[in-house]
C-alpha cells in the first residue's frame, strides 16, 4: 500500500490552517467592535409615553434646562419634572391637545407618567450632576445637542474610559457656570484657555481614583 496521505493533502492542510487563523482574527476583531462602548451604548432612543420634544421646548422655545430639570444644581440627579411642572404652562398652552392627554390624566389622578430612562449608569457608579454643573461642565458635553433632538438619544458612551478622558483633562470641557445650559455656546476666546482659567480659579481637580465615583 502507498502513502497514507495524498500529495495534495499538505496543500489542504495549509489552506485550512490559514483559514482558521484568519477566522479567529476576524472573530476577535468583531468582538472588540461590539464591546466598544461607543458602539454598544450610544444611539439608544426609546419612545416616550408622551411625545415630548426637547427640540421644541429647549430648542425652538429656548426654555432653560433647569426650568424642568430643576434639581440639577442642588442634587446628584437631574430629576425628571413632576407633572405639575408641565401643567404650569399647559393649563393655558395647548390645554386640550390630545398629545397631552396622559399628562392631564397624571395631573388629575396623581398617577406618575412612566418616562423611559435614556442615560443610565451601573448602580456602582455615583455620578453627581450638582458637582459637574457647579464645576461648569455643560449639559451638552454628556447629553449632546438635546435642543435638536425630537426624541432624546444617547450620544456619548458614558463608559469609564470616556469619563476618565475628561477627568484627566477637564479644561476643554469647562465653561462659565452661567453658560452650562447653553447648548450652542461659542466662546470668543480659545475655550481650552477659558477652561484652564476656570479650573485655576475654582481649584478643579477631578478625581481619577476609585472612590471618586465608586462607593
Amino acid at each position: 500500500m502507498a502513502s497514507i496521505f495524498s500529495k495534495s493533502s499538505d496543500t489542504y492542510i495549509r489552506i485550512g490552517v490559514l483559514a482558521a487563523a484568519l477566522g479567529a482574527g476576524a472573530a476577535v476583531a468583531l468582538a472588540f467592535y461590539l464591546a466598544n462602548p461607543q458602539v454598544r451604548e450610544t444611539g439608544y432612543a426609546p419612545l416616550q409615553p408622551v411625545e415630548y420634544s426637547h427640540k421644541l421646548h429647549a430648542g425652538d422655545l429656548g426654555m432653560d434646562c433647569r426650568y424642568c430639570h430643576s434639581s440639577v444644581e442642588q442634587a446628584g440627579y437631574a430629576a425628571i419634572p413632576a407633572t405639575e411642572v408641565c401643567m404650569n404652562c399647559h393649563v393655558r398652552v395647548k390645554g386640550d391637545s390630545p398629545l397631552l392627554q396622559l399628562v392631564r390624566e397624571s395631573y388629575a389622578t396623581g398617577q406618575p407618567i412612566p418616562w423611559v430612562k435614556v442615560h443610565s449608569l451601573p448602580d456602582y457608579v455615583y455620578f453627581n450632576h450638582q458637582a459637574h454643573v457647579a464645576a461648569g461642565v455643560g449639559c451638552v458635553s454628556c447629553h449632546g445637542r438635546i435642543d435638536q433632538m425630537i426624541v432624546v438619544k444617547q450620544v456619548e458612551p458614558l463608559s469609564m474610559a470616556w469619563c476618565l478622558d475628561c477627568h484627566r483633562n477637564p479644561a476643554p470641557k469647562l465653561r462659565p457656570v452661567e453658560q452650562v445650559t447653553n447648548m450652542a455656546w461659542q466662546p470668543d476666546r480659545d475655550p481650552v484657555e477659558i477652561g484652564r482659567q476656570i479650573a485655576e480659579t475654582k481649584g478643579i481637580a477631578p478625581p481619577v481614583n476609585c472612590s471618586g465615583c465608586h462607593r
Partner: protein, 978 residues
C-alpha cells in the same frame, strides 16, 4: 405645612423596577423572563435583582455583558416615575433630615433621622436633646430596620382572622358604650411606659370617662425599684437624675449605668467626659463598681468588686457604716473604708448609685449616703414623677384577671403574655378576660392570644410627643406614611374613648397649640418640630430631704444568702425581647461575651468547675418549682455562685428572624425576684448546645494591642504608650510615597473613653448597608461587620479586667492588602484612603489574608438572597449594595466625604471645615471616643489628638503605617487599694 404633607404622602421611590428587554416588550418582568435571567446568569440573578430598588437592572446588564456577549439591543428599559405634584422642601436625590424622638421602656432619646426620597434610612442623635447630646444608642441605630421588618404586624386580626380597622371601629363604637361598660369597672388597660403629655391627656380623658377603669403601666425591665426607693426615702414619687460628668468619684452597686440600666446614651457621654484626659497632668474621675455580672460598666471600673447581687445590700450597708451613717461593720468588705475616705474627700463631687435590680431599701440607703456626701443638687437631683389617675400595679391586674374581674383588657405596646412575672401565670389567665385588645408592632405572644390584635405604628411612622427624664418634651414626627396601616396608642385610646381628636397629628398638635398663645402657636410649633424639642419644658430640679428614720427603719440587714443566685438583665441586643426580630441587633455581639444570636447562663470559671460544666453545656435551672434550660457560657470576672442570664430570648410567637432564638428565662423570673433570684438549683442537662461568639480568643497573648497604664504610672512615664513595643528603624527598599497634598484623612480612637457599647457597630451597619449572615455563618467566622469592638481580658482569670478596642480598616499608608490584589481592586486614593472598588474585585481573598488587622469582609454567599421589597427600602442609596463574591471593608464613610466635598465646591469653598465630615461611627459614639479628620492640617482636632503622648499605632512594627491610631487607656485606681 410641608412636613405634614411629606409624612402623609406615601414614599415614592424615584425610579421603579418594571423592566424588560427592549426587544421583548411583551415579556415585561414576567416569571418567564426572570427564569430566563436565572438561566442566563449562573451566578444567580437573584443577587443582582436584590440590590437597592432603584439600581437593579444595570447590574443585570453588566452581568449579561460580562457573560452572554455584548448586544446593544438587549439594553433594558428603565422607568422613571416622577411625582405628579411637587413637594415643598423636597429635591429628588437629596436627603432630608427630621427631628423626632424614640421611646424605649420609658427612656426617651431625641433623634435626627435622614430620609432618602421618603425612606428613613439612618438615625442620628439630636445634639439639642438632653438625653442624646448628639449621640444615640445601638437600639436607636437599629430601629430603622424594625421599621421595614416584613414580619411586623400588617393587618388587624380578630380571633386570629384577618380583619380591618373599620371593623374594629364598629366593634369599639358598640363595645365602649357607657351603657355597656358603665363606669368602666372591669375595663383594664396595661401599657408599656410611654412618657408623653398628649398621650396622657387622651388617657386621662378615657379614665375620666370610665372612672373605675384601671390603668397599669408595665415594663418587664423598668426603673420602678429606683422610684420606689425614692418614695421610701422622700415620701414622694420622684425620678432620680445623676450627673456622671460632675462626679469625680463614682460608686456603683450592681448598676450597669453605662450599659443596660439606661438604654439612653447621656450617662456614657457624661461619664466619658469625666474620664477625658489630654495630658498626664489632667485629673480624671474614679469609678468603683461592685457587681455580680461582669458588665461593661465593670469593665470601665478602676476598682471592681465581685459581689453577688443578693449580698449587694450588705456591701451598701458596709459603705454606709464606713461613712458613719449607720452602725454597721465593714464585715468582709474591706474596701469599704478606703472607698468611704475617697468619697469623703470628694464631697459634693461624688456619686453613689445602685442598679434597678436592687430592692427599694437599698436605693433609699443610697439616697441617704448621697445626701450625707452633699451630692444632692450637685451630682444627684430629682424631678417629680406623678402617677396616672386610677393607676394600679401589675400585680393587682394579675389577681383581678385570676379572679375573673377583668372583662375588657387593652394591652398597649406591651407583651405581658411573654414577659409577665412567672408567678402570676399571666398567659393562662389572659384568656379569662372576655375581651382582650392588643396594640403592638407585631402579632406577638400577646397579640396572637388576644381577641383583637391591632397593628401599631412604628415610631418613625408616628406623630406624638415624648418626655425625657428631665422633663424635656420632644415632638415625635413621622418620616414615612405607616407602611402597614398601623396606629399609635394615643390614636387607639382616642378611638375607644371618643376623644375630640382622632388623628395622632391633631392630638399632639392641638394639645400643644392649646398651651400656647394663639399668635405664638404656629411659630412655636414649627420651632419645636425643627429643634426636636419644646423649649421650657424641662422640669424643675428638686432637692428633697431624706427621711432618715424611715430609711433606717425600713432597713433589714440581709443574711448572706446560701446557694446559687440567678441574675436577670435585659439583653443589650433584644432588650426585653421586643427587638428579637431585628437581625442587626441579634447579630451584634454582646459586649462582654461577644455572643451573637443567643443568651446563656453566664458563670465564673470557678462556678462552672463546681457545677462540672463548660461553655456549651446545657444546664437545667430550677427555682420555686419552675425550670428553664440554658446553655452555659463561662465568663471570667463573673462573681462566683452568681449566674447571669439575659432576658428577651426564646420568643415563640415572633417573626422569622427571632423565633426560637436563644432561651427564655422569664419562666424563672417572679414578681419578687425581678432583679435576681437567690437559691436557684442548677444541674447539667447532659446536652450540649452550640453557642456562637464573634470572638473566639480573649487574651492578648502578651501582645501590646491595647495599651493601658494607671494614672500614676502615666505621670511617671508619659511616653509609656509609644514605648510599649520596640520599633526598630524601618527602612524601605523603595522611595517613600509622599502623602502631603490636600486632605489626608485619619482617625484617632481614645480607648480611655470607649465603653464598648456597640452603638458604632450598628451605626456602621445602617450607614453602609452591611448585611447580616445568621448564626450558622457567624459560627463559620463570616460575620460582615466593618467595624468590630475587640474585647480582651487582662489580669488573672478569677478577677480579670476587660478592655475594649474598636477595630475597623486602618487605611494603612503602606497597605499590605493593596500590594497583593492582582486586579487593582483595592488601591490608595490621593487622600490616603484605602479604597475598595467592589465592581473590580474578583474575590481572591488574598487582601484579607494579608491584612494584619483582619478587617476585611468577604461575601462568601449572597447575603441579600430573598430580601423582601420592604427590606430593600432601608438601604442607603449612597453606598453600593455588595454582591456575592466580592471583598468589602470600612471606607471611612467615603460617601460622606465625597458628599461634603461636593457641597463645599458648590458653595464655592476651597477648603472643608474641620469636623464637617463625621464618620457614622464617630457621629453616634456616645463616648466621643472616635475622632476623624484631616491629618494634613496641624490645627485639625485629629492632628491635635494624635500629638498626645498616649497616641500609638497598633502593630506599628509592621511598618504598614495605619492612619487610625489609638490613645492608650488610663486607669485611675485608689492608691489605698493597690
Amino acid at each position: 405645612m410641608s412636613l405634614v404633607q411629606i409624612s402623609d404622602s406615601p414614599p415614592m421611590p424615584l425610579e421603579t423596577g418594571r423592566r424588560y428587554w427592549r426587544s421583548l416588550e411583551e415579556l415585561a418582568g414576567t416569571p418567564e423572563f426572570r427564569r430566563w435571567v436565572e438561566r442566563e446568569f449562573p451566578k444567580g440573578a437573584s443577587e443582582l435583582l436584590s440590590s437597592s430598588s432603584r439600581r437593579t437592572l444595570l447590574r443585570l446588564m453588566a452581568a449579561s455583558f460580562g457573560l452572554a456577549g455584548l448586544v446593544a439591543c438587549r439594553r433594558p428599559e428603565e422607568k422613571i416615575l416622577p411625582l405628579s405634584k411637587g413637594v415643598e422642601h423636597y429635591i429628588p436625590g437629596k436627603p432630608l433630615y427630621y427631628a423626632t424622638a424614640m421611646n424605649l421602656a420609658g427612656s426617651v432619646t431625641g433623634l435626627v433621622v435622614e430620609a432618602h426620597d421618603g425612606r428613613p434610612t439612618k438615625v442620628e442623635g439630636n445634639p439639642r436633646h438632653p438625653e442624646s447630646l448628639g449621640a444615640c444608642s445601638a437600639f436607636a441605630q437599629a430601629s430603622v430596620l424594625s421599621l421595614y421588618d416584613p414580619d411586623r404586624s400588617r393587618r388587624v386580626l380578630r380571633q386570629g382572622r384577618s380583619s380591618s380597622w373599620e371593623e374594629f371601629a364598629r366593634f369599639a363604637a358598640d363595645h365602649f358604650r357607657a351603657e355597656l361598660l358603665g363606669r368602666g369597672s372591669g375595663l383594664w388597660l396595661v401599657a408599656g411606659s410611654q412618657p408623653s403629655p398628649s398621650y396622657e391627656a387622651v388617657r386621662n380623658h378615657l379614665l375620666a370617662r370610665f372612672p373605675e377603669a384601671r390603668w397599669v403601666e408595665f415594663e418587664p425591665v423598668s426603673r420602678e425599684a429606683v422610684r420606689r426607693g425614692a418614695e421610701l426615702a422622700f415620701n414622694r414619687r420622684l425620678e432620680t437624675l445623676y450627673d456622671f460628668g460632675k462626679a469625680r468619684v463614682i460608686v456603683a452597686f450592681d448598676a450597669d449605668f453605662l450599659g443596660v440600666d439606661s438604654p439612653g446614651v447621656r450617662a456614657i457621654r457624661e461619664f466619658s467626659r469625666g474620664r477625658a484626659v489630654v495630658s498626664e497632668k489632667d485629673s480624671m474621675s474614679r469609678l468603683y463598681v461592685a457587681e455580680s455580672r461582669f458588665s461593661i460598666t465593670g469593665a470601665m471600673a478602676d476598682h471592681r468588686f465581685r459581689v453577688r447581687s443578693s449580698e449587694m445590700a450588705g456591701a451598701v450597708e458596709a459603705l454606709a457604716g464606713a461613712l458613719g451613717l449607720m452602725p454597721a461593720a465593714a464585715g468582709n468588705y474591706l474596701w469599704a473604708e478606703a472607698v468611704a475616705r475617697d468619697l469623703q474627700a470628694h464631697r459634693g463631687a461624688s456619686l453613689v448609685l445602685a442598679g434597678p435590680n436592687q430592692p427599694p431599701e437599698v436605693h433609699a440607703l443610697v439616697h441617704l449616703i448621697n445626701e450625707a456626701l452633699g451630692n444632692f443638687g450637685q451630682t444627684v437631683s430629682f424631678v417629680a414623677a406623678e402617677r396616672a389617675p386610677g393607676e394600679a400595679s401589675f400585680e393587682e391586674l394579675a389577681s383581678a384577671l385570676a379572679a375573673g374581674r377583668v372583662q375588657t383588657l387593652i394591652v398597649l405596646d406591651a407583651n405581658p403574655v411573654f414577659t409577665a412575672p412567672a408567678d402570676f401565670d399571666f398567659a393562662a389567665n389572659f384568656a379569662r378576660a372576655s375581651t382582650t385588645i392588643h396594640l403592638g408592632l407585631e402579632a406577638d405572644e400577646t397579640g396572637s392570644a388576644a381577641t383583637w390584635h391591632l397593628p401599631q405604628a412604628h415610631y418613625l411612622e408616628s406623630w406624638g410627643d415624648l418626655r425625657t427624664w428631665d422633663g424635656t418634651v420632644s415632638i415625635q414626627q413621622p418620616l414615612i406614611h405607616p407602611l402597614y396601616d398601623g396606629r399609635t396608642p394615643a390614636e387607639l385610646l382616642a378611638l375607644v374613648s371618643g376623644y375630640k381628636d382622632q388623628r395622632a397629628y391633631d392630638i399632639v398638635r392641638n394639645y400643644w397649640t392649646a398651651q400656647w398663645p394663639a399668635q405664638e402657636a404656629e411659630r412655636r410649633w414649627r420651632k419645636a418640630l425643627h429643634d426636636g424639642l419644646i423649649e421650657g419644658t424641662s422640669a424643675a430640679r428638686l432637692v428633697p430631704a431624706v427621711d432618715r428614720k424611715r430609711v433606717l427603719a425600713a432597713w433589714r440587714p440581709q443574711p448572706p444568702a446560701a446557694g446559687l443566685e440567678l441574675v436577670f438583665y435585659p439583653s443589650p441586643s433584644v432588650w426585653d425581647g421586643r427587638f428579637a426580630n431585628n437581625g442587626w441587633l441579634q447579630e451584634a455581639p454582646e459586649p462582654m461575651t461577644k455572643l451573637t444570636w443567643d443568651n446563656a447562663a453566664l458563670m465564673s470559671p470557678a462556678t462552672a468547675k463546681k457545677l462540672g460544666v463548660r461553655s456549651g453545656d446545657v444546664v437545667l435551672i430550677e427555682y420555686e418549682g419552675r425550670s428553664a434550660e440554658l446553655p452555659v457560657w463561662v465568663l471570667p470576672g463573673q462573681t462566683d455562685d452568681s449566674i447571669a442570664a439575659a432576658l428577651g430570648y426564646g420568643r415563640t410567637v415572633c417573626g422569622r428572624v427571632g423565633r426560637r432564638v436563644g432561651h427564655n428565662v422569664y419562666p424563672l423570673r417572679t414578681s419578687r425576684t425581678a432583679g435576681f433570684a437567690s437559691g436557684v438549683s442548677v444541674r447539667p442537662a447532659g446536652r450540649r448546645y452550640r453557642l456562637v461568639s464573634a470572638q473566639d480568643h480573649h487574651a492578648m497573648e502578651g501582645r501590646p494591642l491595647v495599651r493601658e497604664a494607671t494614672l500614676r504610672y502615666w505621670r511617671e512615664h508619659p511616653d509609656f504608650a509609644r514605648h510599649a513595643v520596640h520599633v526598630p528603624e524601618l527602612k524601605s527598599l523603595y522611595p517613600e510615597h509622599q502623602y502631603t497634598q490636600g486632605y489626608q484623612w485619619g482617625m484617632a480612637i481614645d480607648l480611655n473613653r470607649c465603653v464598648g457599647c456597640n452603638a458604632c457597630i450598628l451605626a456602621c451597619q445602617a450607614e453602609n448597608n452591611i448585611p447580616i449572615v445568621g448564626k450558622r455563618e457567624v459560627a463559620r467566622g463570616r460575620e460582615m461587620h466593618w467595624l468590630r469592638v475587640d474585647r480582651y481580658f487582662t489580669g488573672d482569670e478569677q478577677a480579670p479586667e476587660a478592655v475594649f478596642q474598636p477595630v475597623a480598616c486602618m487605611h494603612c499608608e503602606k497597605a499590605p492588602c493593596e500590594n497583593v490584589c492582582p486586579v487593582v481592586a483595592t488601591v490608595h486614593s490621593p487622600e490616603g484612603l484605602n479604597e475598595m472598588a467592589y465592581n473590580r474585585c474578583v474575590g481572591t481573598r488574598y487582601c484579607s489574608n494579608n491584612c494584619p488587622y483582619k478587617v476585611r469582609r468577604f461575601n462568601f454567599l449572597d447575603w441579600h438572597k430573598g430580601l423582601e421589597e420592604s427590606q430593600k427600602l432601608v438601604f442607603n442609596p449612597d453606598v453600593t449594595v455588595r454582591m456575592r463574591g466580592v471583598m468589602e471593608k470600612c471606607t471611612f464613610c467615603v460617601q460622606r466625604i465625597e458628599e461634603k466635598k461636593i457641597q463645599a465646591k458648590a458653595e464655592g469653598r476651597r477648603q472643608l471645615r474641620d469636623g464637617e465630615i463625621l464618620t457614622a461611627c464617630q457621629q453616634t459614639c456616645p463616648a466621643e471616643a472616635i475622632v476623624f479628620g484631616n491629618i494634613n492640617d496641624p490645627a485639625s482636632r485629629v492632628s491635635q489628638i494624635k500629638k498626645q503622648n498616649r497616641n500609638y499605632l497598633m502593630l506599628e512594627e509592621l511598618n504598614v503605617r495605619p492612619r487610625t491610631s489609638y490613645l492608650a487607656r488610663i486607669r485611675n485606681p485608689n492608691p489605698e487599694l493597690v
